[in-house]
């Protein structure tokens, strides 16, 4: 399905789609979390020889690395008396419980219980598939037999030395559905981010939206417009007009990627005519209303330039802080306001609703 957004017509489409018989077909903050998905467990560098406790999808997990560097994830809870294993210590590749000294190998199976002369046959900790990919480590909290590593989304640019990347992270009190909708929606840029990515022209630019293989993609083009500061300043092209192509993609419940391609209409001699930016939003629901979030902003030029790095880090930290604040404010309203809760949707919300529809189907399929 590919649609060109003629807003007047689309609004009516959306209202039709949201007729009472369809009211429940979009995920929201009460939809069960989707489990069969590779989620980021953290930065690869966070997972090391000191056990790290982190909650994913409501489950307490402990993360560490074996001596040869493989990441390990298991429930952060000794099956004997519920002691959090992250409070124990690593001895070789075994995680030793701090309460009674039970030792668990990286496969979660008990390898030694000091107070017993033999290893208790039934004692093991549930482990989770976990895989490094560049700067991130991915975990699978769903059915282990479905944990196909080929499903880990490709984010090659995060490891490519030709790209310069800045990065940050947040812990957010919000539900991840609202965050996906925020990320795929660009009509809020001029209002929530007036000083960074938002320009007035941008809110009215054309878009196409499509769903394909449970991904939702929207593309926008804007011709002969001044560049937004966040892309124009680091490239030193604020005095130029540019053509701008952007894509925002709901890749999976765990990942939203975006790119921007900025073409200088009239480049100066010897200067590049194209600047590419890839943005990677990686996030994992901690619970139904809290999120672990890591973001990456990558560019295909001057990868080692510290001044550009500093500018990009500051500008994006500001923009994403604005999103985080908005999501937390909304979450607070939705959870504490005593009046009836509902949302009105309009044509520009179609991409978000398409993503929420995918999430709803995935969640319901797991419940079935």
């Amino acid at each position: 399905m590919v649609t060109t957004a003629s807003p007047q017509q689309k609004e009516h489409d959306i209202f039709a789609a949201m007729a009472p018989h369809d009211a429940g077909s979009f995920a929201n903050n009460r939809t069960p979390l989707i489990r069969n998905c590779w989620y980021a467990a953290g930065r690869a560098s966070e997972i090391c020889r000191t056990p790290l406790a982190r909650k994913f999808l409501g489950v307490d997990v402990v993360l560490y690395r074996t001596e040869n560097g493989d990441p390990v994830a298991m429930r952060n809870r000794c099956p004997h008396r519920s002691f959090p294993l992250a409070r124990g210590k690593l001895v070789g590749d075994r995680l030793v419980c701090g309460y009674h000294g039970m030792e668990f190998g990286s496969d979660g199976v008990c390898a030694h219980m000091p107070a017993l002369p033999h290893v208790p046959a039934t004692a093991s900790v549930k482990t989770f598939p976990i895989v490094d990919r560049g700067p991130l480590t991915w975990i699978w909290m769903g059915s282990p037999d479905l944990a196909d590593e080929a499903l880990i989304p490709d984010t090659f640019w995060l490891s490519d030395p030709a790209w310069g990347t800045v990065s940050g992270d947040f812990h957010i009190k919000s539900d991840y559905v609202a965050m996906h909708e925020n990320l795929i929606d660009q009509t809020h840029f001029p209002f929530l981010h007036p000083d960074t990515v938002g320009t007035p022209e941008y809110a009215r630019s054309k878009l196409t939206a499509s769903t394909e293989n449970n991904q939702v993609v929207i593309r926008r083009e804007l011709r002969n417009a001044p560049p937004p500061g966040v892309y124009g300043k680091p490239a030193n092209i604020m005095h130029k007009l540019v053509d701008r192509t952007s894509e925002a993609r709901f890749v999976s419940p765990a990942l939203h990627t975006a790119y921007a391609r900025v073409s200088v209409v009239d480049p100066d001699p010897g200067e590049p005519s194209l600047y590419r930016y890839n943005i990677t939003h990686v996030f994992t629901p901690e619970t139904n209303d809290s999120i672990h979030y890591w973001w990456f902003n990558s560019r295909d030029y001057l990868p080692g330039d510290a001044a550009i790095d500093r500018f990009m880090l500051e500008a994006h930290t500001q923009a994403y802080s604005e999103d985080v604040e908005a999501l937390e404010w909304i979450n607070e309203v939705v959870r504490t306001d005593g009046e009836e809760q509902f949302d009105l949707s309009f044509a520009p919300d179609k991409p978000g609703l398409m993503a929420r529809r995918v999430m709803y189907r995935l969640a319901m399929a797991e419940q079935g």
Copy 2:
């Protein structure tokens, strides 16, 4: 109904009234909040050109003023994606959502949605009737068609230059029923407020209590007694005996007024023989167990006297702090003590029970 409190007899009356078949006829902290009532939204001066978020009866509300000074109240929640509108900004008389720029007029109707070429017909925010009266602004959270401004209670003395008024406010973790009962009850004065309004004689003075048009009034008289410090010191009559008449009135779920008339039995030549005090307790349930509270203490003499103002402010801040503390302690007990909760009532509780009975009837009538 007018009753003279003959305690012995009244106690039995009350016990009869509280027999099992009548156990539920007095409002308490689990009774639904009464909505068809003018409540204070705040001081008129608090409501200005910076949007103000405040919760009333469990509902998030945003308050602001139009350019010509009219107060506006609407749900603090954009109907599109639940963004709290108080986090947006005012442009002229329109409140602009900080997320996608939707603009709402003071009637709550959407006047502009930037991402759409037209105004979406269905988009509006629920507004609430709101009216200025002297130093206070009143809001109606119930059925709009019942919001008759003539029902706003008269508190003329708060605006009359012949009266000197001091004022303060509290946010209280308590239910408003317990607060009404506290205010109409004067038998606690000698115990909770021994240093201010309470005198030992006062607890035993005669009272009459009546219910009329959903108001409950109690009157007390005390003759030839020393004045309490809070009334005697500012009037400089502590060395005198006085006759004291006081009234406490449950005016509505939103308002309790009281007055004291202090007559000097033997006034010095050239000195007044009568001193009048009006006390205005304005409060609005934020939720079932929290309250917005504004109090005013007015006197009909020396309205500009800074020393008297300072004395009255200090003395009443202390007395009301004692009430607030007691109400919060009680609320904590009622909500966390694991044993069975119940109240015994006695004859002196009759005025409070009369007010609680009115509140119960009003609440039940709304539940229909």
Copy 3:
């Protein structure tokens, strides 16, 4: 029943005992609190002429002493309007409510209500049996007719001048069942307390366990081993080998006692050959997941030695802090981890399971 722990065999016994049909026969953090039991209300010195509020088994209680020194316990809640009586004041032996001045005798019966000409016949506060025993005061929260003082456990050494005692206390966010299991279990010593009571040999020493009259006792012996620092250092016998006998006893839901008898195999001339230590763990559930805890460590030598006192206080404060931390970590896991909760048990857990079985039976008998 007396069993010698042959771990291989016992493990199977335990698994059999925990087959599905028996899954619910061990108390855990969801088992109703046991009420028919003498619990510590506090140190006798804490209960004085200033009313003290404390919650036991979910019930708010106020504690004070009469003028002749008898302890009094009653609900911390005036039956009139739920004011917490501990916020009132003592006048003679009567507790006077801070709200309306109702006065309650030490029998909980209202003796005076200032606003009434007579004492209201129905007004009284529920009292609880309460008794001093040495440094502790014990309270009975269950059926008053079962409150036999002969059931208060004997802890004579706490009052015997021949014994030197150090003591401390904690407020713990944990359930008391897990705490009992922690105290009766000694296999965690080498792991949770490696620097104090734990020695590697100790985890493998033989034990006998028995249940008798709803008490569970385990005994261990260890011969010809170096003493642990906590017992060897104060006695100045770290260079010696010792025989060590220890007992841990689940005395009641309110009390765990332990003793250690340390015999020097080859005492120096003129030095004692036996050192005795009694440990008294007194604790009372505040709620289902919080505990009031007082501990006492007593020795039968050099009772006035300040240096030994200091050493014992520091060493045991450290050890018990480690237990408290572990219990709070476990409680946090059990209450917030979203995955299925269960425990695996092994042969060395038998003593703890025996105690949990006793607690389960006691709790169920009260529910019956």
